[in-house]
């Protein structure tokens, strides 16, 4: 039965400019292009990943939306109509990649930051030092000192802390969902920027061991790759309870992406689906979570902080309070815009809450309970630029995680076809001919550039705010104002409206 689905995109080739070098055909990971007497496109396969257009030496290719007109309907968007055709043909769940792409209200885009003028002078980051350094880990309630031999000595022990040069880390993306070369690039960039990368659920490939002091190793429900060697080649260990893109459900790496190396790192047969169960089956209560946190601390001899990653859902504040009391050192909140390599579309687009709300609620609740110091809070989920970073810090985040932005820096165009394993950019694939396109060093440099660019912008923002340390902006809701937000929204975010 041939498909009734219209092509989403149309590949337009200017055959006069085209010099028939066939570079586009070689570059396309989706098999869209071929050569007859000229370059020919099978539009139905095009994912709008822009690889062909980017590498065409003559600029002869552009990708258009298929001009096939749908009768306009605000309720039945074309996407909903074609989704039903797809499901009528297959009987399956819609699958997609990356983060929620629906038109939900953005709170980041309705908040603005302050600047200093006249009475409170701003600081010029070009001429005065700006401190972006951040330490992740549990902080004590108070510090006690004593005089010993005429010297002031700190008596309060402080648990393990991880230093970040800037308050940004690379979000978790598993080896399996992305390629080994992509992981190599992340590790090298994390080391050079002195921040962190995260292995995700897929284990840590041995090639990355030299970078382990900048790696967060994840212990997810499938426990892929988790042994004592893995746990000890890390800066910290993270228990993954959920992620923003698919709260409440487990991971699913299709068998197509489980090649020999992925199979070895995850310890499952090659070609099988790598399934992470929905809950950790040893965590059915907050006490169970406390038990696993302490098991991991015991397994790493109490030398490393333990982080717990949760998706932002309705009662995230209460959950966060429980996690802090269960002994976690770091809470990682992932909002509903967070990305993934594969998730059912309905789960991705209709479950979870925005990170702005989650962050404000968690920060408020922990402060109200007097336990904010027990955890560092990292937030993630669609952080698009340093403006979002600054706003997140003002709302209370100790640091932010960037995933989608990191992939975009590597070449991703957000075509949302990660689950096919055909990523033309060599990122979300295990096909050797595609993976080899991603040069780890050149890509690491792109990531270093991104972090540097955002750090410079963050310093400019801090300078404009009249502070010289990110510490001074952290949790300072007074530096934010809302524009076009309702009273309830302002109340939850804990900010004033512009004008007040």
């Amino acid at each position: 039965m041939s498909s009734w689905l219209p092509a989403e995109f149309h590949v337009r080739i200017d055959h006069e400019r085209c010099r028939r070098c066939k570079r586009c055909i070689m570059n396309c990971g989706f098999g869209t292009l071929s050569f007859a007497d000229r370059v020919v496109a099978d539009d139905r396969k095009c994912a709008a990943c822009h690889r062909c257009a980017t590498f065409c030496p003559e600029g002869a290719i552009t990708i258009e939306k298929n001009p096939l007109a749908f009768k306009h309907n605000e309720h039945w968007l074309p996407e909903y109509r074609t989704n039903i055709i797809k499901q009528a043909e297959t009987g399956g769940m819609l699958l997609t990649g990356m983060g929620n792409d629906k038109a939900y209200f953005s709170y980041f885009d309705h908040m603005v930051l302050d600047a200093c003028q006249v009475t409170n002078p701003s600081i010029d980051p070009l001429r005065e030092p700006m401190e972006l350094r951040t330490y992740l880990g549990s902080k004590p309630e108070k510090l006690e000192f004593a005089m010993e031999d005429g010297r002031l000595v700190q008596k309060t022990p402080i648990g393990p802390q991880i230093q970040l040069d800037v308050p940004m880390i690379f979000s978790a993306m598993s080896y399996g969902s992305i390629s080994l070369n992509a992981h190599r690039a992340l590790a090298r960039a994390a080391k050079e920027c002195n921040i962190l990368m995260n292995t995700g659920e897929g284990g840590l490939h041995k090639d990355l061991y030299p970078y382990s002091d900048r790696v967060i190793v994840q212990c997810a429900s499938g426990r892929f790759g988790v042994d004592s060697e893995y746990l000890n080649h890390s800066a910290l260990v993270e228990i993954k309870i959920g992620q923003g893109a698919k709260p409440g459900i487990g991971g699913h790496l299709p068998g197509e992406k489980v090649d020999q190396e992925v199979s070895e790192t995850r310890m499952i047969p090659a070609g099988t689906d790598a399934l992470s169960p929905a809950p950790h089956h040893d965590i059915y209560s907050i006490e169970d979570l406390g038990q696993l946190i302490h098991a991991l601390k015991e397994a790493t001899n109490w030398t490393k902080p333990v982080s717990v990653k949760i998706a932002a859902v309705h009662n995230v504040a209460a959950i966060a309070s429980g996690i802090a009391r269960a002994g976690a050192d770091i809470i990682y909140l992932d909002g509903f815009r967070g990305g993934t390599g594969a998730a059912p579309t309905m789960i991705r687009d209709h479950i979870g809450i925005p990170i702005e709300m989650a962050l404000a609620a968690v920060d408020d609740r922990l402060r109200a309970e007097g336990i904010r110091n027990r955890v560092s809070v990292i937030c993630a989920g669609g952080i698009r630029h340093s403006g979002d970073v600054a706003k997140a810090i003002a709302l209370g985040a100790d640091a932010v995680g960037i995933g989608t932005a990191t992939l975009l820096a590597m070449g991703c165009r957000l075509c949302q076809k990660c689950y096919t394993g055909n990523c033309s950019w060599g990122i979300a694939t295990q096909r050797p001919e595609l993976v080899r396109r991603l040069d780890p060093d050149a890509t690491a440099q792109r990531l270093v550039n991104l972090i540097r660019a955002w750090s410079l912008e963050l310093k400019e923002i801090l300078g404009a705010l009249g502070v010289n340390a990110v510490e001074s902006l952290r949790g300072s809701r007074e530096r934010l104002r809302g524009i076009g937000l309702s009273e309830v929204d302002l109340n939850i975010l804990g900010i004033k409206p512009a004008g007040r």
Binding site: M93, R266, P269, G271, P277, H281
Partner: protein, 245 residues
């Protein structure tokens, strides 16, 4: 040999004593009056021998990577959680979530086991985890199995008590479960099918059974009188037709 009286000792201190002695070269330990201390054997890489007298707490041998532990009493939940290597022999029954995400090593339980035993066990090449439960099991035995060998013996089963609970092997996509006796089809997950043993199975199972029996002074011939059934996943991609791409 280091003998520790664990009475009244906090688990962190007990485990630290063991780890420090192990780092100094001690290889044989006897822990007396153990009463619920957790994480014994956790994250230890050295091939130690540990005898536990008393009931150990949860997460015995979690993330363990080498030691051989004998428990001379019942044990609790979470034994061998994400264990990589080593062995655990329990002279009694044990609780829930045993061998979760186990990746290597052996766990032998003499008596009954609880819920969710052997979930998501995995294997790679020669590294094949083994869990043998001597008594009966509750629901979700072998759920999500991706590799390894699970054995359910049903020894000393009272008349009328089912050998296993429901959802036996549900979501299985690798590995093998050997059940001594009959398995009600309605109790098994959709992803598994039952077969009788062949020569290859016997080559794998009989040596393991012998080892198990030696641990507890049992007679393998007696146990082998009841025929075994093998449960295997019918597909390595049980969820391959769920999605529309």
């Amino acid at each position: 040999m280091l003998r520790i009286d664990a009475r009244g000792i906090y688990y962190r201190d007990l485990n630290r004593m063991v780890k420090e002695a192990a780092a100094a070269g001690e290889r044989d330990f006897v822990l007396d009056n153990v009463n619920g201390q957790r994480y014994i054997g956790t994250g230890i890489d050295e091939a130690l021998n540990i005898e536990v007298n008393g009931v150990p707490g949860n997460d015995l041998a979690a993330f363990m990577n080498g030691p051989r532990i004998r428990v001379m009493a019942n044990a609790q939940d979470g034994i061998g959680n994400t264990m990589n290597a080593g062995s655990i022999v329990v002279h009694g029954m044990a609780g829930d979530v045993l061998g979760y995400a186990m990746r290597g090593g052996k766990i032998f339980i003499r008596g009954d086991v609880g819920y969710r035993v052997g979930i998501h066990m995995k294997e790679y090449r020669k590294q094949v985890p083994v869990l043998i439960a001597g008594g009966c099991a509750d629901d979700f035995f072998g759920e999500y199995m991706a590799g390894g060998i699970l054995v359910l013996l049903g020894l000393d089963r009272p008349e009328g008590k089912p050998l296993s609970g429901d959802y036996l092997g549900t979501g299985m996509h690798g590995g093998v479960i050997y059940v001594r006796g009959e398995v009600d089809p309605y109790r098994t997950g959709r992803e598994v099918a039952a077969f009788s043993l062949d020569d290859a199975d016997e080559k794998v199972l009989w040596p393991l059974l012998k080892e198990y029996c030696e641990s507890f002074g049992l007679d393998p011939a007696e146990i082998q009188k009841v025929p075994f059934v093998k449960l295997k996943a019918v597909s390595s991609r049980p969820y391959g037709r769920l999605y529309c791409y």
